[in-house]
């Protein structure tokens, strides 16, 4: 029988939750790196025992931890992230030029084929790569250097590169997303990039249809259809079926604030795709960008079995009153068992799991520090 391992990053350490394929009883280990912010922990698809963790602190900066035994033991590896060449400037919140400054790693994306190759999405937004298991990191400068970089501005959470997707059918193709610049695609393994934001509409920027400046919160892909992407934007859930060349709004009947216009429907951070059904997607609507908690204190995952537009709220096992947590952008994941398991973590320290594709939910743990990220491994 398969086992499931859930990798949880929190404000005060990492936790590893394990279960068998039934996903009813869980063992909890941790905290690892107690007291440190763990923005992300992710395993290599090529070697499930190889894990990478982003460990950071306001006092001591960034470190990177690597495990070769599935998280039992860890060793610090390289933490030197230096921008290629002269970093230049991007726009600050007030529109003035601001030098690029490394702050932290938000996201690791290990190569699909080589456990020593990992991509890192950092703040201030850039993409780095290691090919020696994390000992050294080099920027892929074509992203910041493609032309629009000086016009990027941070969102409220900082100017973070938070999403990296690798196309399993095309080794040269990858996607990234930046708050608040937008989505970008490379077709040559990260050497050159172009913005892919046509169809996004953001009323909070001077030109709502601008080439860059959109606050993309998360992008998800089903590995069988890598040209179809689903996006949770600041407002709006979007999809593309042509690898990002154009996007369509699929908010449909997602909830909105009472009386608010359609342009304020569909706020949230996370989005993911059912492993077994490429048109089944999940989001967790959040009331607004100024409140950052669920509508009416009711925590609801919304599922669409039609790739968007038609959504159903999933509530069984989730708190339906007095719930004011948030679910951050890297804090939802799916396993690859026959009945797809769906997992998400909250800023209130709960990690919820559904072993039946979202029909029912229960907390694996409910008193962790605020959850920053959730990843899942299905182990044979």
């Amino acid at each position: 029988m398969s086992n499931v391992r859930v990798l949880v990053g929190t404000r005060k350490g990492a936790f590893i939750l394990t279960s068998d394929g039934k996903r009813q009883k869980w063992d909890v280990s941790g905290p690892y790196f107690g007291g440190w912010e763990i923005y992300h922990v992710k395993a290599s698809p090529a070697d499930p025992n190889r894990l990478y963790a982003s460990q950071s602190s306001g006092w001591f900066g960034q470190t990177v931890q690597r495990s070769k035994d599935g998280g039992k033991t860890w060793e610090p590896v390289g933490n030197k992230f230096v921008y290629d060449g002269t970093p230049g400037t991007h726009k600050w919140y007030d529109g003035t030029p601001h030098p690029w400054e490394f702050k932290r790693v938000w996201h690791f994306e290990p190569s699909l084929s080589d456990p020593d190759t990992v991509y890192a999405g950092i703040e201030d937004a850039a993409i780095f790569r290691t090919t020696d298991g994390g000992a050294t990191w080099q920027e892929l400068p074509g992203l910041r250097g493609h032309g629009t970089g000086p016009h990027w501005q941070p969102g409220a959470g900082g100017m973070c590169l938070h999403t990296i997707l690798l196309d399993p059918a095309n080794p040269g193709r990858m996607y990234i997303a930046i708050s608040a610049a937008g989505a970008f695609r490379s077709d040559d393994a990260g050497q050159t990039w172009k913005p892919i934001n046509r169809g996004l509409r953001s009323e909070y920027i001077p030109d709502p249809d601008a080439e860059v400046g959109h606050c993309v919160h998360r992008i998800a892909m089903h590995r069988s259809r890598p040209n179809t992407l689903f996006m949770q934007k600041h407002w709006d859930v979007m999809r593309t079926d042509n690898a990002g060349d154009s996007w369509q709004n699929v908010n449909g009947n997602l909830p909105t604030e009472n009386g608010a216009p359609d342009s304020r429907r569909g706020f949230g951070f996370v989005i993911d795709v059912n492993t077994n059904e490429p048109e089944t997607i999940y989001v967790v609507p959040i009331k607004s960008d100024s409140e950052h908690f669920p509508h009416n204190g009711s925590l609801r995952v919304y599922r669409s079995r039609t790739g968007g537009n038609e959504w159903e709220p999933l509530t069984k096992g989730l708190p339906q009153s007095n719930c004011y947590v948030n679910i951050l952008r890297d804090a939802m994941a799916v396993d690859s068992l026959d009945q797809c398991g769906v997992y998400f973590g909250t800023t209130g320290g709960q990690v919820y799991a559904s072993a039946d594709a979202g029909d029912t939910w229960s907390p694996i743990v409910h008193d962790l520090p605020a959850v920053l990220s959730v990843e899942v491994q299905t182990l044979s």
Partner: protein, 98 residues
Amino acid sequence: MIRVWLPAHLRTLAKAGTEVEVEVNGSVTVNSVLNAVEARYPMLQGTLRDHVTKQRRPYIRFFACEQDFSLDSPDTPLPEAVASGKEPFMIVGAIAGG
């Protein structure tokens, strides 16, 4: 031998005790002590000062002999009591945060 105190989180990261000892050849300064600490514990590179500019991280302070050397030139000689090992060079994480 120079005695160096590390903050708790960096002791854990370096798998070291509260106090570590390093050898410094030549003038004993903040820079030369940190160079020796980073050489012995490479995982601490970047946690005390910037990898490239060598600027002290904002929430890190350097104390010795009841004095704060954080804002002095990092090439200023430290007191003889530190150089002789009588007093420790203290690397302190600021009291801040939650």
